[in-house]
């Protein structure tokens, strides 16, 4: 099917590429269907484009590219919602705020997007871990406190 995107014009996607959010991304509860767009498969940075609202798109980053020891702990309700048996089978991506000044660009490690690849169900979860909600993508001089 053909879809309209905010940043890349019209593109073709397969039905199997669609990710269904059980609960919408916080603050955008009405939009449940998204697609992940990447320039190249090796990229750690990608776009989460809404299929319900062409103007809605987020930048996502693979958290392991910037925080190697990322080890999300989800609560039982979230696992149940994602129909997942454990945190290990889930994929995690974090939402980024990209500013003109690279040092001000941050990701939210506290509330990642958890995706169950088996059923393509996703949810923005608030982790049990004490991860920061604003973590600098590029370490500043004082370094990230985590």
């Amino acid at each position: 099917m053909k879809i309209k995107t905010r940043d890349f014009g019209e593109i073709l996607v397969g039905e199997e590429d669609i990710i269904n959010f059980t609960t919408g991304i916080y603050g955008f509860d009405d939009y449940k269907k998204y697609i992940i767009l990447k320039d190249s498969p090796e990229d750690d940075i990608m776009f989460l484009q809404s299929l319900d609202n062409m103007e809605l798109s987020f930048v996502l980053i693979d958290p392991y590219a910037i925080f190697i020891d990322y080890n999300p702990i989800l609560n039982e309700d979230d696992l149940c919602e994602l129909k997942s048996t454990g945190t290990a089978e889930l994929k995690y991506l974090v939402i980024a705020i990209i500013k003109d000044d690279i040092k001000e660009s941050v990701v939210n490690l506290k509330s990642p997007i958890a995706i169950n690849p088996n059923n393509r169900t996703a949810k923005q979860v608030i982790l049990q871990n004490e991860y920061p909600l604003r973590y600098n993508i590029v370490s500043t001089e004082e370094g990230n406190k985590c």
Partner: protein
């Protein structure tokens, strides 16, 4: 900021119609029960902060900044 010590089953009143009851305490968690009128919004702070974060994150971004980040991430990898 006001700091008060409370035991399990004790409570705090805020104004005339909000009651916060300490219902359970374990090693590093406390379970609280809140009784308040319907029109009072009760939200976990990190949820409200995540909403705020998402609003900013949904704004259209500058392509140059995006490429900057992309290159930095590649540099970290190598």
């Amino acid at each position: 900021m006001l700091v008060i010590k409370r035991k399990v089953s004790e409570s705090i009143l805020i104004g005339d119609d909000i009651e916060i009851i300490i219902s359970e305490i374990s090693q590093d968690k406390v379970k609280i029960a809140i009784s308040a009128p319907q029109d009072i919004k009760i939200t976990r702070k990190e949820l409200a902060e995540t909403c705020e974060f998402n609003k900013i994150a949904s704004e259209k971004i500058n392509e140059i900044s995006l490429n900057d980040i992309k290159n930095k991430l590649k540099a970290i990898k190598n």
